[in-house]
Amino acid sequence: MSNEQARAESRATVFFAISAVASIGLAITYWQGGQPQLEGVLLAVITGGIGFAIVSWAKHAMPHDLVTEERDTVASTDDEVEAFSADLERGVEGIGRRRALLVAAGSAITAFGAALLFPIRSLGPRPGAGLKSTPYAGRHKRVVTADGKPVTPSDLATDGVVTVWPEGHTDAADSPTLLIRTRKSQKFKARKGREDWRVGDIVAYSKLCTHVGCPVGLYQAQKGLLLCPCHQSTFNVLDGARPVFGPAARSLPQLPLGLNDDGEIIARGDFSGPVGPGFWDRDRH
C-alpha cells in the first residue's frame, strides 16, 4: 500500500467518524426540541462526511485502470431484422384475412376509449355563464367591505381606494371591486352610456386585471393610474380604465354605481363586461 493510499484511507476514516458524531449530535438536537438551522448543518455534516469519505477513498485508494470496451453499432444486422419481421408477420398472417373481426375489435377498443373520456366530464361544470357574470347581476345590491360593512361616499377621502364586494358575496373571487375617489381637478372622461355610473367623483372598476386576473392593487393618484403588481399592466382610471401600458389589452370592466335611500353606495347591475382574463367566446352571447 502506497503512502498516498494510506493517507487517503485514514482521511476517509476521519470523515466517517465525523459523520457518526454528527448523527449523534442530530439525535440530541432533535431530542432537545429541534432547531432548524442546527438540524440542517448536522444533516449536511452527516451526509457530507460520508460523501467526502467515499470520494476520497475512491479517488486515492481504489484502482483507476482505464479500460476499453468495444462498442457495436446499435442497429441489428439486416438478417436479424428480417428474421424478426418474418416472425411478426407469421403471427399476424392469420388475423389479417379476418377483416370483419379486425374492424369489430378496433371499434370495440375505440368505443371503450371514448367511454373512458366521459368520467372526465365529472371533474368540473360546463364553463359558460359563470365566466360572464358576477353576483352583482340582478337586483340592486349594496357594496360592502371585506368585513361586510356598507360604504357611504364620505368613507372615501380624495384619492381614496377601497376594495368592495356585492353584499353577501365577500368570498366571491370574481367580484372584488375597486371604489376610487378621483380628484375634483382631474377631468374624468365617461364612456358613452356610462355618464351616470359614478357617484360624485367615485368610480368603480373590477379589481381583476384583464391580462391574467391578478388583483390590480396600486393606485397612482397623481396621474389617475392603476398598476397591476403581477405584470405591470397600467390602466387609466380617468379614461374608463383603458390599458395604457403593459400586456393587458382590455379596459377594466366598470360597475354602475348609485345611492340608496340611506345614502349607501349600491351597484345598479353587473359590470360592463366579463371580468378578469380573456377567453375565446368572451363577447359571444
Binding site: 426540541g33 432548524p36 442546527l38 438540524e39 440542517g40 448543518v41 444533516l43 449536511a44 451526509t47 457530507g48 460523501g51 467526502f52 467515499i54 470520494v55 477513498w57 475512491a58 481504489m62 485502470d65 482505464l66 479500460v67 476499453t68 470496451e69 468495444e70 462498442r71 446499435v74 442497429a75 372526465i120 366530464r121 371533474l123 368540473g124 364553463p127 359558460g128 359563470g130 365566466l131 371585506a146 373571487a173 370574481d174 372584488p176 391580462h211 391574467v212 386576473g213 391578478c214 388583483p215 403588481p229 403581477c230 405584470h231 405591470q232 390599458p243 401600458f245 403593459g246 400586456p247 393587458a248 389589452a249 378578469g276 382574463p277 380573456g278 377567453f279 375565446w280 367566446d281 359571444r284
Partner: protein, 485 residues
C-alpha cells in the same frame, strides 16, 4: 494503461484474499441459483464509464430527485391537501385568529410545530430548485456536444419529457401551500388555461373544478404532485438509464477513443463509489441550504386571499421565463373568425408549446439539415459546430431575457428607472440579445477552432458540416479497423 473490459478475473486467476469474500460469495451463489444473474451482474460491474466532469450533471439531477422523494415523503405525512377553512390557533403568534385553508395551516404547522419539519420543507424546496437547474444544464451539455444524435434521439425525447414533468411538478408543489404567493401563481395559471382557444374554458373548468379558485384544485394538485408525476418521473428515469446502458456512454475525442469503443473506468468499484459519494455530497449541499438559507417563508406571505396580491411576486426560477414572457408581451389582442385570441395565449401557452415542440424535434431537424443520419458516439466540442452552438446560445439568451423580465419591477426599483423603460428595453432585448449572442458565439467558435487547428467541421453551410463529418468518421472507422487488424 489499457486493459480489456471483461474485468480482472479474465486476466488474473486468483483475486487477493479478502475476509468478506466467503460471505459475499455465499450470498451471490444463493441469489444466482434463484435468478441466474451472475453473467448479467458481472457485465454490469465491468461497465465502462468515460470520465468527464460534465457527465456528472445528469447524475446530480438524479440525486436531487432521490432527496426530493425522501424529504417529500416525510412532508406528506403531515400535509393536508384541503381548502376547508379553519382558524389558526398555533404557535406562530402573528397568524393567530387568522382564517386560512387547512392546507396552509398544515404547511405552517410543518414549519413551526413539527420537529424537523421546517428543515425538511426547506431541503425539499432547495432540492426542487437544484433538480430543475441540473436538468437544464444537463440538457445544455447534451445539446452543445451533439449527444442527441442517432442513436440517442429517443433518449433525448425522454429527457425533454422529464424536464416538462419536473417543471410542472415544481409548480404544482409550491402551489399546494395555498399562501398568497402560490395562490397568485395558480390564478395566473388559470388565466393562461382560459386563454387557449375553444378548449381553454373547458380545461380551466375541469382542472379547477369550476371557476377560480375552485375548492378541488389543491387536492387535485396534491395527487398530481405526490403520485402521478413522481411515478412518471421514476419510470422515465429508469427508461433514460436503461437506454443509456444499451447505447453505452458517449465520450469526447481523445487518445484511443473511437466511434466503436468506450474508454474509461469500470463501474466497480471506483466509479460506483464516486457516484455514491456524489449522492451524499448532493444531499449534504441541499441539507446545508435547507438549514441555513430561508426559502419560501409562507408565514410572511399569509394565506391566499383572491382580492390581494403583493408587489414583486416572483415564481420559482424555472417558471421565471414564462412569467417574464407574460410581462414582455405588448398589450395586443387579436381576433380570429370573430372570436377573441387573448393576449396571454401567445407568451403563456404558445411560447411554452413551441419551446418544447422545438426541443423534441431538434435531433430530427438537425439531422435533416446536415443530412447526417449516421450513428455518433464521439462528442463534438461546441466550437466544432459553430452554427449549432450559436443557435443554442441564442435560444438560451432569449430565455434569459425572458427570465430577467420576470424581475422587471425589481430591476426598475433597484436601478431607479421606470418599469415602463425597463419593459421597453426588454421588448427590444428579447430579439436583439439572441441575435448579437448568436453572432458573437459563431465568431468565437470559429476563432477557437482555428486556433486549435482542429479538423474543423465549421463549414459555412450545414451541408458541408455533415459531409465533412461523414468523411472524418470514415477515417475513424478505417483507423479502428487498422487497430484491430
Amino acid at each position: 494503461m489499457t486493459d480489456t473490459a471483461k474485468g480482472p478475473a479474465g486476466g488474473r486467476s486468483k483475486p487477493p484474499p479478502n475476509h468478506g469474500a466467503p460471505m459475499m460469495r455465499r450470498t451471490a451463489r444463493w441469489l444466482d441459483r434463484r435468478l441466474g444473474a451472475a453473467d448479467f451482474a458481472r457485465t454490469a460491474l465491468n461497465k465502462v464509464f468515460p470520465d468527464h466532469w460534465s457527465f456528472m450533471i445528469g447524475e446530480l439531477a438524479l440525486y436531487c430527485f432521490i432527496v426530493l422523494v425522501v424529504t417529500g415523503t416525510y412532508l406528506a405525512f403531515f400535509f393536508q391537501a384541503s381548502t376547508r377553512q379553519v382558524v389558526y390557533h398555533g404557535v406562530y403568534k402573528p397568524l393567530q385568529g387568522v382564517h386560512m385553508s387547512a392546507a396552509y395551516k398544515s404547511a405552517i404547522d410543518i414549519s413551526f410545530k413539527v420537529r424537523a419539519g421546517l428543515v425538511m420543507r426547506q431541503i425539499h424546496h432547495w432540492a426542487a430548485l437544484l433538480f430543475l437547474a441540473s436538468i437544464v444544464v444537463h440538457l445544455a451539455r447534451v445539446f452543445f456536444t451533439g449527444a442527441f444524435r442517432r442513436p440517442r434521439e429517443i433518449n433525448w425525447m425522454v429527457g425533454v419529457t422529464l424536464l416538462i414533468l419536473a417543471i410542472f411538478n415544481g409548480f404544482a408543489g409550491y402551489s399546494l401551500l395555498d399562501d398568497q404567493l402560490s395562490g397568485t401563481g395558480l390564478r395566473i395559471g388559470y388565466g393562461i388555461a382560459l386563454s387557449v382557444p375553444v378548449i381553454g374554458t373547458w380545461i380551466a373548468s375541469l382542472f379547477f373544478g369550476g371557476e377560480f379558485p375552485g375548492a378541488d384544485i389543491i387536492g387535485r394538485l396534491y395527487v398530481i404532485h405526490i403520485l402521478i408525476i413522481p411515478v412518471l418521473i421514476g419510470l422515465l428515469v429508469a427508461t433514460h438509464l436503461a437506454i443509456l446502458v444499451r447505447h453505452k456512454h458517449t465520450q469526447f475525442r481523445g487518445p484511443g477513443r473511437k466511434e466503436n469503443n468506450v474508454v474509461g473506468e469500470r463501474l466497480w468499484p471506483t466509479y460506483a463509489a464516486k457516484a455514491l459519494g456524489l449522492l451524499f455530497l448532493t444531499a449534504s449541499l441541499l441539507c446545508l441550504l435547507g438549514g441555513l438559507f430561508q426559502i419560501n417563508p409562507i408565514w410572511v406571505f399569509g394565506p391566499f386571499n383572491p382580492a390581494q396580491v403583493s408587489a414583486a411576486s416572483q415564481p420559482d426560477w424555472y417558471m421565471g421565463w414564462l412569467d417574464g414572457a407574460l410581462r414582455i408581451m405588448p398589450g395586443w389582442e387579436t381576433r380570429l373568425f370573430g372570436f377573441e385570441l387573448p393576449n396571454p395565449f401567445f407568451p403563456g401557452a404558445l411560447l411554452g408549446g413551441a419551446t418544447f415542440a422545438l426541443l423534441y424535434a431538434w435531433p430530427f431537424l438537425e439531422a435533416r439539415v446536415t443530412r447526417d443520419h449516421d450513428e455518433h458516439h464521439l462528442l463534438d466540442r461546441p466550437r466544432q459546430r459553430p452554427v449549432r452552438t450559436a443557435l443554442g446560445v441564442a435560444t438560451l439568451s432569449f430565455y434569459s431575457v425572458c427570465f430577467l423580465g420576470a424581475a422587471s419591477d425589481v430591476v426598475a426599483s433597484t436601478f431607479h428607472v421606470s418599469v415602463n423603460r425597463v419593459l421597453i428595453t426588454l421588448r427590444l432585448g428579447v430579439f436583439l440579445v439572441p441575435i448579437i449572442a448568436a453572432w458573437a458565439t459563431y465568431r468565437l467558435c470559429r476563432e477557437l477552432s482555428d486556433r486549435d487547428g482542429l479538423p474543423v467541421q465549421s463549414g459555412v453551410t450545414f451541408g458541408q458540416i455533415g459531409h465533412r463529418l461523414r468523411r472524418s468518421e470514415a477515417d475513424d472507422e478505417a483507423g479502428a479497423e487498422a487497430d484491430t487488424g
